[in-house]
């Protein structure tokens, strides 16, 4: 146990403590102690306000879409002849890195990209526009691109959950006259609860720390309009050269991730009695 603890302390806790410490110092050359000045930028800097808005949108999108789509695809492909091929198609994007997914979607979403070309060819040119240029549309299309990739793992988890449901419970429900929807609502869904907790918990954390797709697609632009807190942290630290502000964003982001995960998992696991 000791080596593991040492590694956690050296590579996780020590940098975290240092980051908290740094966040209380100014970014000027002499770096004086500046109390909560770096944190106050959340109230005064419109780019950070937008970043918080975007992060919330990402959390909602990355929790809802993979959950709903994953559950739907898993249910539809659980017991069909073509289920293996269908599942492969959905799961395959999950094997791709975020950067590779971003490159593919960049090819689709730029103003002269594939999506607008298809729309123009279908005489729907009026719908063609710069998908990555205007807020909030650019954030929404990136959330959709992320869902395209992230749904795969939700499908796998829900399939495992579906296959662990005892068939007798469904047969009993059918004998009692329950229809398909009632079986799903009252028999399948409650038994998928443990899997759902994991899918939502994972999506929640992924949404809060989303970075790679955004960075490759827009680098947080144009005009910092698509930044999430993770991107803002990088941008402030390495591009704007304000490591103190970057550290403050890192601390806030960490607190949000920890608090959200802890509240969610505690509530869910308590309900289950574990």
């Amino acid at each position: 146990m000791a080596p593991a603890v040492l590694l956690v302390v050296a590579f996780l806790l020590a940098p975290f403590v240092w980051t908290i410490y740094r966040s209380f110092f100014s970014d000027s050359r002499t770096s004086p102690f500046s109390w909560f000045d770096n944190y106050s930028r959340f109230a005064s800097d419109p780019a950070l306000t937008r970043s918080v808005q975007n992060t919330l949108m990402w959390v909602v999108g990355t929790v809802l879409l993979p959950f709903v789509l994953g559950l739907a695809i898993a249910c539809m492909t659980n017991a069909t002849r073509w289920s293996r091929a269908a599942r492969l198609c959905v799961v395959l994007p999950y094997a791709l890195s975020g950067a590779a997914v971003a490159v593919v979607w960049n090819f689709m979403l730029t103003t002269d990209g594939a999506v607008n070309q298809v729309l123009t060819n279908l005489h729907l040119g009026s719908l063609a526009h710069g998908w990555l240029l205007t807020w909030p549309g650019n954030t929404i299309v990136m959330i959709l691109a992320n869902a395209w990739q992230a749904t795969g793992v939700a499908v796998i988890l829900f399939l495992v959950g579906l296959q662990s449901i005892p068939p007798e419970t469904l047969e009993a429900g059918a004998l009692d006259g329950a229809g398909s929807w009632q079986q799903f609502r009252h028999i399948v869904l409650p038994q998928l609860r443990p899997v759902s907790i994991i899918v939502i918990g994972m999506s929640l954390v992924n949404g809060l720390k989303s970075f790679d797709l955004i960075w490759v697609l827009t680098q947080g632009g144009p005009g910092r309009a698509t930044e999430t807190l993770a991107v803002s942290m990088y941008n402030e630290t390495f591009l704007e050269l304000r490591p103190g502000v970057g550290a403050a964003i890192a601390v806030v982001l960490t607190v949000i991730v920890l608090a959200a995960s802890w509240l969610y998992l505690r509530r869910q696991l308590d309900v289950k009695g574990e």
């Binding site: 000027s28 780019a47 002269d112 205007t134 632009g221 144009p222 005009g223």
Partner: protein, 437 residues
């Protein structure tokens, strides 16, 4: 059974511990080796290491290095990190170590001043003065390579911001290189009428958003630009507003590519005739060659005309520099190489590779288009202006570049964009001056 069970239970943790200990030792050894940085930047006789953020230039450095070796006995050994952001972090961190690279490619102006004030660079004033006495460097660019009166950078190249245009397209439409603002507008109208986007404009990658801003402001009033970038004029003043209005007018007329057009595709777009003019540094000539375009045949270049005929003529110049870390592994060899870098025999090879103009004014570019530009700039006594990216404190430039990107995407009006830029300028200049004090 219990005995064997105990044995198994006792053996398993031991094996796991041994495995963990072995792995930890191996990781520690690798980490120490990595920290020692024995391979890449340590002294290697006959070469000097060169940190570089443009991997496509490695071959050019090697060729120029062979010419350098004939003079100094040391060739160049490029170490490339093509991500500009991570490159900057790596350079700033390695400056603090005992095995910094021998030479580092860096930007001039305030980017250099910021690096120089870490006290990790060698004073190159003597080298600069020797170059000036031989006429191998323009002393006018001294300030862009200096911090607090001392020179810390030797120019790596000298590029100008120009309008590349497609000669076949212009010939087909009966157009010639615009020599006045009215001619520029005429070219744009004719190109647009023929289904060709007149100008390439982009904010992909961030920094390209500055290109049209700096170009239009300097062609409205170059003296104002000089005051603006040194904090003596306001972004909300009339010349800046005029430049932004022109820019917005061009965008509204559909004269510019969409802001998400990647300018890496610029040479290809010019060749295929989908874009008429491409505003960029002359170092892009290498990209034109890469797509098979011949200078003077397939493409030409001119400097954007001034908005009023009476406006003084100017040109935006960009010059990267070589710096020598104080703790360079082969400091003596590095000093010898920066001392010979601008030698015409070295610059001939380097300029031919780059297809661009040398920082040594006695070396004429091998690219006829760039050579003609060099000649015109000298003949017309154009005011050389430092590129916006290097012209003010880095934090100010980065923030303003973001704002210009937002403007290009239609998020903010000219007035709002300029107001934000001015607010940032006020804060960042105050911070810079406070730090300097």
């Amino acid at each position: 059974m219990s005995a064997s069970g105990r044995t198994r239970r006792a053996a398993a943790p031991l094996a796991r511990r041994s495995f963990l200990a072995g792995t930890a030792a191996a990781a520690a050894a690798l980490a120490l080796q990595g920290c020692a940085r024995g391979e890449s930047t340590s002294a290697q006789p006959g070469t000097t290491s060169l940190s570089n953020d443009n991997a496509t230039w490695d071959e050019g450095y090697r060729s120029a290095g062979r010419a350098l070796k004939a003079i100094t006995g040391s060739a160049l050994r490029p170490l490339s990190n093509p991500s500009v952001t991570s490159y900057q972090q790596v350079v700033q961190m390695t400056l603090q170590t005992s095995k910094a690279s021998d030479l580092v490619k860096w930007a001039s102006g305030y980017q250099l001043k910021r690096l120089a004030r870490t006290d990790g660079l060698t004073d190159l004033t003597g080298v600069w003065d020797r170059y000036v006495s031989k006429g191998w460097v323009r002393d006018a660019s001294r300030d862009a390579a200096s911090y607090r009166g001392k020179v810390y950078g030797i120019p790596l190249y000298e590029s100008y911001y120009v309008l590349f245009y497609s000669k076949p397209v212009f010939a087909k439409l009966g157009l010639s290189a615009p020599g006045s603002w009215a001619e520029l507008l005429h070219c744009a109208e004719v190109l647009k009428r023929n289904g060709i986007t007149p100008f390439l404009a982009s904010q992909v990658g961030g920094w390209p958003a500055i290109e049209w801003f700096q170009e239009l402001v300097t062609k409205v009033d170059p003296r104002f630009y000089q005051k603006l970038v040194t904090g003596q004029a306001s972004y909300t003043d009339a010349p800046a507003r005029r430049a932004m209005d022109i820019w917005q007018d061009f965008m509204r007329k559909g004269w510019m590519t969409s802001p998400d057009f990647d300018q890496a595709r610029g040479p290809g777009a010019l060749k295929s005739g989908t874009v008429g003019m491409f505003l960029h540094g002359t170092w892009q000539a290498q990209g034109m060659t890469a797509v098979g375009m011949k200078p003077g045949v397939d493409y030409g270049a001119c400097i954007l005309p001034t908005v009023q005929p009476s406006t003084p003529k100017s040109v935006i110049a960009e010059s990267g520099v070589f710096v020598v870390p104080r703790r360079a592994s082969s400091h003596g060899a590095a000093m010898a190489n920066v001392g010979a870098w601008l030698d015409p025999s070295v610059q001939r090879v380097w300029s031919d590779f780059l297809q661009d103009s040398s920082a040594n004014p006695t070396v004429r570019s091998g690219n006829p288009v760039v050579a003609q530009l060099q000649q015109d700039i000298a003949r017309e006594h154009r005011i050389p202006l430092i590129r916006y990216w290097e012209a003010s404190p880095p934090s100010l430039i980065q923030g303003n570049t973001d704002d210009l990107g937002g403007f290009m995407a239609g998020q903010t009006s000219p007035a709002t964009t300029l107001r934000r830029m001015q607010e940032r300028a006020r804060d960042e200049w105050a911070a810079w001056r406070r730090d300097e004090a």
